[in-house]
């Protein structure tokens, strides 16, 4: 970064299948108010707002940041709206960081949300490309074939996906904001209906309403407190084309390139041992094994083994998704920022019951599109 940048406040909503108690502005405000309070700031302290969310069809309002401008305190401020599919929450936070790193902004409020109970999420996630037979039914319908390919390539046993899902629920039980928090067993998962074979219902993310906001500030301001900030050591947002012959959709190149970018700039040469926790975007359980490899936490073909040995559980070597992750909470537009925000909370020592001990460096990661967009950051206790 050109100049030091830090997260000085995080606020999120209590995520649920349907927040019928709040309007869209109300939902966003719950997160914004909490983030400002956490940072000890008022709206007047904020120089700009960067907001992101996934397809507007999810709520039936086009470019809703426009009608939300007043509610998020953006009146007479610069405001940008980001949309990079599933990774949007993360790329939005990174856009806010760049604003501060540029030296032109000292404090930027960044927000990501989705109130998808208000539309028909399955329809919005099943785009009909014109002049093509519509076959893809929901995001899972697109990704399930690649989970199958991962299993075929690695010979991973069938219990790995269910094991990951069970672990995520155990983690979510420690996270008061998570949507799905009830524990379940591997048998529960194996007995749940198959949605897109090989992905089962209980291996799939929920559809949630939720929002998260963060205040990103310059290093000088961050040092002033009131609390320990999370220093953004590095951040990157990459994308790759879809129809590249032979494109690896099990371990996409853009993911590897983005990870190398953030590791190099944060001085990480051995992610498995230099990072103490990671919030990675796992909407379907098998992706946890796949991303462990894509992110260099495991050798190719070995990601599932780390899960099998429980090395990514809470309390183990490198807890993955201590918040419960996307498998337990998925307001699509917000999920990417929830990963980055949860990583920040871990580094700030403010993750409450799901705080991992001894965190110095944390990775926050998200992906989107046909596994084309990858956005991630490394946050640290030290500059």
């Amino acid at each position: 970064m050109k100049r030091p940048v830090a997260v000085v406040g995080v606020g999120q909503t209590h995520h649920a299948a349907r927040r019928a108690d709040l309007s869209i502005p109300g939902l966003v405000r719950e997160a914004v108010d909490r983030a400002l309070a956490d940072a000890g700031l008022e709206h007047d302290d904020i120089d700009a707002v960067v907001i992101g969310k996934a397809p507007d069809m999810l709520e039936g309002v086009a470019q809703p940041e426009q009608f939300l401008a007043g509610a998020v305190g953006a009146h007479m401020k610069p405001m940008l709206r980001v949309h990079t599919a599933g990774s949007v929450g993360a790329s939005t936070a990174i856009t806010a960081c760049t604003h501060v790193a540029s030296g032109l902004y000292d404090r930027v409020l960044t927000i990501a949300y989705e109130k998808q109970s208000e539309g028909n999420a399955m329809w919005a996630l099943s785009p009909n490309m014109p002049f093509t037979t519509p076959l893809v039914a929901g995001a899972g319908g697109f990704f399930a074939p690649y989970c199958r390919a991962y299993i075929a390539k690695t010979g991973a046993p069938p219990h790995i996906g269910p094991m990951t899902a069970v672990c995520a629920r155990e983690n979510a039980a420690r996270n008061e904001y998570a949507h799905l928090r009830e524990p379940m067993t591997i048998e529960d998962v194996m007995n749940s209906p198959v949605l897109w074979e090989p992905i089962r219902y209980l291996e799939t993310c929920p559809s949630s309403d939720g929002a998260i906001a963060m205040v990103i500030a310059s290093g000088d301001l961050a040092k002033q407190g009131p609390r320990k900030p999370a220093w953004v050591k590095s951040a990157a947002s990459y994308a790759e084309a879809m129809w590249v012959p032979g494109r690896d959709q099990v371990s996409p190149r853009a993911g590897k390139v983005a990870a190398k970018h953030v590791y190099d700039r944060a001085g990480i040469t051995d992610p498995w041992n230099q990072i103490q926790t990671a919030e990675i975007y796992v909407p379907f359980a098998w992706f946890e094994a796949m991303w462990l490899e894509n992110l260099g936490f495991a050798e190719v073909g070995e990601g599932w083994k780390k899960i099998d040995r429980g090395e990514q559980r809470f309390g183990a070597h490198l807890p993955i998704n201590p918040s419960g992750g996307v498998l337990c909470t998925n307001p699509i537009g917000a999920s990417g920022m929830l990963r980055l925000g949860e990583a920040a909370l871990q580094v700030m020592g403010r993750a409450g019951a799901h705080q991992v001990e001894g965190v110095k460096n944390a990775l926050g990661h998200a992906y989107g599109g046909g596994a084309q967009y990858f956005a991630m950051w490394i946050v640290s206790t030290e500059l």
Binding site: T98, R253, Q372
Partner: protein, 373 residues
């Protein structure tokens, strides 16, 4: 004023604005624009550090519509990338911010969208808050008309005044081969066109049109190698206001005024009238008058020349219209404006807008020389 990094526009390509491109899909329109922009600056795609695109799902008529643009922008190997659901002029702003943060030295900014495939007026109506304003059935022309009414009531501007502005833009458009509307029209003739939504006549607003655009930005050190006459960014600022139509003075654009003040201060000029030309993203004459007032420009003065391209009234490819204002300024100041060139132009303003009734405005100040040394 802090010294910033000098960044310039070094290339710009657009497809001529047409009512409906019957031969190409949205992403197909963007490919020739990107190729031409790269050809202008004489580099291969790999030489560009950053890419950012601008479009909106609702205009495309499908969620994730923008993803297909990756395949035509040269996104292999993987690129540092972003996409905004905003007009390309705001994407250009973020590319500029990335350069100020030393995150890149070159960038392509792409705008696309096949406006003709849907019903843009209704789609834009969906931007209104779903609880109170959208329920009124307002579309973009109606809210523009509300604003025009408010302006005319406050200032006493008349239908003839609006017609004169529209006629001036139309006359300029005849010299712009990329404009959609290229026939001149007299003020009297335009005043006879039926109402679109009173007090805006059909002749005062652009027809539905589409294009694809690609602007190339480069920082000092690279810019000089890519263009014989880079057009340097001197100042820029953008501000949004609350959307609620009844909560702001629609007859004025407070955010355009504020942004112009900041941009001019950064540029080290006293005000917008210090430039030689201004390209304003005004999709009707009342909006143009409101913007002139906000920026301190006299719409009747010869200088600065306003909308020598014919402006948005001669072509409004939504998501590219604001970016085209930047592109037109580039053409003017780099000697590429041919028949519509404003002689001796050295400084210019480009404006862009988003949202109903000029809710969100960006003002750029650009010049032939570097701003900071």
């Amino acid at each position: 004023m802090t010294k910033l990094r000098n960044v310039a526009i070094v290339g710009f390509a657009q497809l001529p604005i047409v009512a409906r491109d019957e031969h190409r899909m949205s992403s197909e329109m963007l490919y020739p624009a990107v190729r031409e922009a790269l050809a202008q600056v004489g580099v291969e795609r790999d030489a560009i550090d950053y890419q950012i695109s601008a479009s909106t799902d609702y205009m495309d008529g499908r969620p994730f519509g923008f993803v297909s643009a990756l395949d035509v922008m040269g996104s292999w190997p993987p690129r540092q990338d972003l996409h905004l659901e905003m007009d390309g002029t705001f994407a250009a702003y973020y590319a500029w911010i990335r350069m100020q943060a030393d995150e890149c030295d070159t960038a392509i900014v792409c705008g696309h969208g096949k406006t003709s495939e849907g019903e843009p007026d209704r789609v834009l109506g969906l931007q209104l808050d779903p609880y109170y304003q959208a329920a009124l059935g307002l579309d973009a022309t109606s809210t523009a008309a509300l604003q025009a009414s408010a302006y005319m009531a406050r200032t006493g501007a008349t239908d003839a005044d609006l017609a004169a502005i529209a006629a001036r833009n139309r006359s300029a458009g005849t010299k712009n081969p990329d404009a959609q509307v290229r026939e001149a029209a007299s003020a009297a003739g335009l005043q006879m066109s039926p109402w679109a939504v009173e007090p805006l006549r059909r002749g005062y607003v652009p027809p539905i049109g589409e294009s694809a655009t690609c602007l190339v930005l480069a920082a000092e050190g690279k810019a000089e190698k890519l263009c014989d006459k880079p057009v340097w960014i001197h100042g820029v600022d953008h501000r949004t206001e609350m959307q609620t139509l009844g909560a702001r003075d629609l007859s004025r654009s407070a955010s355009a005024r504020f942004a112009a003040g900041k941009a001019c201060a950064m540029a080290g000029i006293a005000g917008a009238s210090a430039v030689d030309l201004a390209e304003l993203h005004a999709t009707n004459p009342a909006a143009e008058l409101i913007l002139c007032e906000a920026l301190g420009l006299d719409p009747k003065a010869a200088k600065p020349a306003i909308n020598p391209s014919g402006g948005a009234i001669c072509g409004d490819p939504i998501m590219s219209t604001g970016l085209i204002r930047l592109g037109e300024v580039f053409r003017q100041l780099s000697g590429r404006a041919k028949d519509r060139a404003v002689a001796g132009a050295k400084k210019a303003i480009a404006h862009g807008t988003q949202g109903h009734a000029l809710q969100h405005n960006i003002v750029w100040v650009l010049g032939s020389e570097r701003r900071w040394s």
